[in-house]
């Protein structure tokens, strides 16, 4: 027995629906009879793509005039349910993104309902159950919504495959944001993009990531060069993002991007839990690290115990000369 209705939080990347949203639509279709989307901005612009992926209706707030999504979307959803304008869904699915977590946190307070986080798989047993990997993915924990109210589930990117089902354009409905007062006072005054050239980190067939073992920010050029030589994308561990060597958009891991490339090359990365969670799903993993005890070797298909400063230049040269 599936659920009657699931609401999926819609996010946009560039001028398209974000892949995390399409992934969750695929999940929601398998769990509920009716799938609807709620989002900021003009839902009509995305109704075709959302419909193609199985959404029947898209509820949207219109432009937020610089306001952050968390407070606006949560307030709008709670108000619509309270006013009886919409029937509450059985569950909400949101991506584990900055805005997804903001909306989930605020909405859970408004509806006094639990948030089940870091979900990588979902199943229905009367209510929705989320599966979450803990301890670096060595243990799976399943958590059930027992609140008797709609549960909120934060789903990790790349947990489901985005597949269109040829659905017709979604209907559009307005989702009115009530007057937020002081709680909605935070405003975005400027946006900056930090995307690198070349393939996107979370879409590339090959990802080359660097960590502390590189020794210095200057050494990161080896990661860039190797990524270029193999037509891949450069990534990073949290340690060197925190240290300011590369921007956050390079970060692979629990708090960064989840990647599942054909090949993942980890250079000078020890393999902290935080990092493993973001790359363990890669089809093939190559690790170069001088510490034979580094946890990264436990997940590597090919592990090289050695100095990145010796191995990487030779590897780059060999690949560039082909």
């Amino acid at each position: 027995m599936g659920l009657d209705k699931i609401w999926v939080f819609g996010e946009v990347a560039g001028d398209e629906v974000a892949s995390i949203t399409l992934e969750m639509l695929a999940a929601a279709r398998s769990l509920a009879d009716t799938v609807e989307v709620f989002m900021a901005g003009d839902g009509g612009e995305y109704a075709e793509q959302l419909g193609e992926h199985g959404a029947e209706t898209v509820y949207s707030t219109g432009d937020l005039a610089g306001g952050l999504q968390g407070v606006a979307i949560a307030s709008a959803v709670a108000a619509a349910i309270e006013a009886g304008d919409v029937e509450a869904p059985d569950a909400f699915l949101l991506g584990t993104t900055q805005d997804g977590r903001d909306v989930a946190g605020r909405l859970s307070v408004k509806l006094d309902t639990p948030v089940i986080t870091n979900v990588v798989a979902l199943e229905v047993d009367e209510t929705l159950i989320g599966s979450e990997p803990v301890f670096g993915g060595t243990v799976d924990v399943k958590t059930k919504n027992t609140s008797g109210k709609p549960g909120i589930f934060l789903v990790r990117p790349k947990s489901y495959e985005a597949v269109g089902v040829g659905g017709s354009e979604a209907d559009t409905e307005d989702l009115d944001v009530p007057d937020l007062g002081a709680v909605g006072a935070a405003k975005v005054v400027n946006s900056h993009a930090e995307e690198a050239d070349g393939p996107k980190l979370d879409e590339a067939a090959i990802v080359v990531s660097g960590g502390r073992g590189l020794g210095s920010p200057e050494a990161y050029v080896m990661v860039d060069d190797l990524a270029k030589a193999v037509g891949g994308a450069p990534g990073a561990s949290r340690a060197i993002v925190d240290a300011g060597w590369v921007p956050y958009s390079y970060q692979v891991g629990q708090t960064g991007k989840v990647v599942k490339p054909t090949v993942y090359i980890a250079a000078g990365i020890s393999g902290a839990t935080q990092h493993l969670v973001g790359m363990k799903g890669s089809k093939n993993i190559i690790a170069i690290n001088k510490d034979p005890e580094a946890p990264i070797f436990a997940v590597a298909d090919l592990g090289i115990v050695g100095d990145v400063h010796k191995v990487m230049p030779k590897l780059i040269e060999a690949l560039q000369s082909r």
Binding site: L68, T117, D125, K142, T143, A186, S191, A243, Y248
Partner: protein, 259 residues
């Protein structure tokens, strides 16, 4: 300016313990330490108070048995005082229950600014800061990679999927900070000695006016229904570099036909 920092005291990540299959909670047998993620918020708060030229930093934490060993580390860094909330009824609290407790403890301080980490290193739900802000009726800016306060407002660079946004937010407000927002200081010997006599207010649910049914196992609207060992990824071949390891990598890539 009064800044309240939410801090979590966690088992040492080097010895993370395990989930107790009976109670389905994290075994917390070992001494708790300050979550490293929170050291950034503490440092940020100290620097903001310093820049403002007046004010103080207060810590708020929830832990079993009035545990303060992690709080003392943050006090040694320079925070002035702390609140610790302990109550047997809190065992099993989910993120929302935790947020209710922290929000009630924070409200007593009437802060200008509340800082928190984006997520803890052990539970990493990453929702508690937004939940606290909603409970307190505060605006919030999460995932800050830089924070300044000027003219009664916070100027925050907030991480986004594409890069970052510059966000302006009037105080009082809540800001959650990423690791790396500032470099946390090491407590000095003088700071460690001074921390021993700094005031720590011990509160239970009754003192906060929270009904025990709203928190802990009773209030958590979620239940762990299974804990299973995940299928391990098969470890591959590990070789020592003897000057030709790059050839092995090239051969590996060739076999996969990805070049």
């Amino acid at each position: 300016m009064k800044v309240v920092v939410c801090v979590k005291q966690i088992p040492d990540p080097a010895d993370p313990g395990a989930l107790d299959p009976e109670t389905k909670t994290l075994k917390r047998d070992s001494k708790l330490i300050l979550d490293e993620s929170d050291s950034y918020g503490v440092e940020m708060a100290l620097q903001l108070v310093d820049a403002a030229g007046e004010g103080e930093v207060h810590l708020v934490s929830m832990a079993p048995n009035n545990e303060v060993s992690g709080l003392r580390t943050a006090l040694a860094m320079g925070a002035a005082s702390a609140t610790i909330v302990s109550d047997d009824a809190l065992q099993g609290s989910d993120a929302l229950g935790t947020a209710k407790v922290l929000a009630a403890a924070i409200a007593r301080q009437e802060p200008d600014l509340v800082l928190a980490a984006t997520e803890s290193s052990d539970g990493y739900t990453g929702t508690v800061p937004a939940q606290i802000a909603e409970l307190l009726g505060l605006p919030s800016v999460t995932f800050a990679k830089s924070v300044a306060v000027d003219g009664g407002a916070a100027q925050v660079k907030r991480q986004t999927e594409a890069g970052y946004d510059e966000v302006e937010c009037p105080l009082p407000a809540l800001v959650s900070v990423t690791a790396g927002v500032v470099e946390p200081r090491y407590p000095s010997f003088k700071g460690i000695m001074a921390a021993k006599s700094k005031p720590v207010d011990e509160l239970d649910l009754g003192a906060l006016g929270i009904d025990a049914g709203q928190v802990g196992w009773a209030g958590a609207g979620q239940e762990i229904v299974s804990i299973e060992v995940a299928p391990a990824r098969e470890a591959g071949e590990v070789i020592e570099d003897e000057g030709d390891a790059h050839e092995r990598i090239v051969a590996f890539l060739d076999d996969l036909k990805v070049l």
